[in-house]
Symmetry: C2
Subunit: 295 residues, 2 copies
């Protein structure tokens, strides 16, 4: 097997790491913009009859989606055997049905754009709600890397007496799994809805946990609204400020500063999206998945 890996602009360093780990040649890719904003792309590496990995994490995908689609077309035209997209963060997993009449189902459109051009998609913990598996959305062959074991390992190593906290029922199963692997107890906050805007949140058995270090878990930290509110509930209930652990470090606008101001002890993420809070490296898991899916 002769692998080639082409990293999109901004993804070169991580792309090189993954290339080393899966034994791929790093592609000689030229990508620049003309003065009018259009893109020029050239690949000076042999693609014929090789599996070609395109490496691009997809937060804020609008800025680079055209280049990625052009590159996928290019490697196909140059004779690639399989076109593999490794996207540690996958965008447009939010709008997965028409909640209101007339809404664009952007998850489906985005999946089609990619699936029309790639054979295999490898990503880390996609934000799956209504769709329970990525393959319900993507026609391409998909492989999901689960960060949970790495989160559990990091917590077990770095937090004394942790109490894992899920912000809501939806997170319960995932938090339970991380807690089991970390050998720690966990709770899930209970929401009681009295009306459209009247929701009370309570911490179950709060007195049992007063000595423990809460560890708040979520898959994506974007506006950090959920983590900020959950932190407020924990502190109001008499628990310590939590350690916040997220998989994908989007951090829209001032989210990190607001989260820090809410009284958290620290904020920790994986490096699916490059960010100062990255403490957990997913490269090895990603490499294993790529090698498995291509085997």
């Amino acid at each position: 097997m002769s692998l080639l890996l082409a990293a999109m602009p901004g993804n070169e360093a991580k792309g090189r790491l993954l290339a080393e780990r899966v034994g791929a040649e790093t592609a000689a890719l030229t990508m620049r913009r003309f003065p009018d904003g259009e893109s020029y792309i050239r690949l000076d590496s042999e693609c014929a009859d090789r599996d070609v990995i395109l490496f691009a994490t997809l937060e804020r995908p609008g800025a680079m989606i055209l280049q990625l689609l052009f590159l996928a077309d290019l490697v196909r035209e140059l004779g690639a055997r399989r076109v593999v997209l490794v996207a540690p963060y996958l965008a447009y997993m939010r709008q997965d049905k028409r909640f209101q009449p007339g809404e664009a189902v952007t998850s489906r459109s985005f999946a089609r754009l990619l699936s029309d051009r790639i054979d295999v998609l490898v990503t880390v913990d996609p934000h799956l709600h209504r769709y329970h598996q990525l393959k319900e959305l993507y026609a391409a062959c998909t492989r999901v890397v689960h960060a949970a074991p790495l989160l559990a390992e990091w917590i077990a190593k770095n937090v004394a007496q942790p109490l894992l906290v899920g912000p809501d029922e939806e997170s319960a199963q995932w938090v339970a799994m991380v807690a089991r692997e970390a050998g720690a107890p966990y709770i899930v906050l209970e929401k009681t809805r009295h009306g459209d805007r009247d929701v009370t949140v309570s911490v179950p058995d709060v007195h049992r946990w007063a000595e423990l270090q809460p560890v708040l878990l979520d898959d994506i930290i974007s506006t950090a609204r959920t983590m900020i509110e959950t932190t407020q509930h924990l502190v109001a209930a008499g628990l310590q400020g939590p350690v916040c652990v997220g998989v994908h470090a989007i951090f829209a606008n001032h989210a990190l500063a607001e989260l820090q101001a809410a009284g958290v002890r620290s904020v920790v993420t994986t490096n699916t999206i490059t960010h100062p809070t990255n403490m957990i490296d997913i490269s090895n898991l990603l490499a294993d998945s790529v090698l498995e899916v291509l085997a």
Copy 2:
């Protein structure tokens, strides 16, 4: 025939004008971004069994291409009879073959992205070189609006004793046509290549034209390099500073200031791309074409 027109953000005013002229209902389109940069799109207008016009000029397409593709998918899903893209300026007409090995043929990829989602494309003077017709590139039905009659009309009305000037052989046929319609003489500059970087440009029969007002024509003014150099050649040959007339007002970076500094008399464009130099309105021609192609 019941037409609906949805204008992309930034195209609302021109979209409304076109809607009035073709008798289309203006769509109630909501398009906004989530804090993480992803787009939300909702169309509160009936699409079922109607022809739906998407109106978007495509300079710097990277910034909005995802939204446009999502919107095209949406109107299709909502039951549109035909999806018609009216793009007064069409992007990615530059790289229409692989000049060097390994280059992405972005014209073809971009055409495929659109053709997979639309039935009809209406545009103004696409920058066609190797491809002589848009249909060689676009699987969708295409209709090209030619701005030449409007340029000729503007010149005849606004320039006394015009001499039309084509910057190179490639432009000769087009300039000749505009000149004929404007009832004016024309010349095409002659380039003599002595080596890779040694090119002399001469103005034919320069003494015949000294009293006339040169009018420089080009389809796209992007960096304005061609117009600036041609202006310098005209002035060096003893002609007056030219009136510059372009179809598409891209004006990358400081192109307009540089062009003005080169000694031109004025700069005039059509409104395919909104710009302070817009003096020639293409709305009526655009409306006629839309009505013809949908008839």
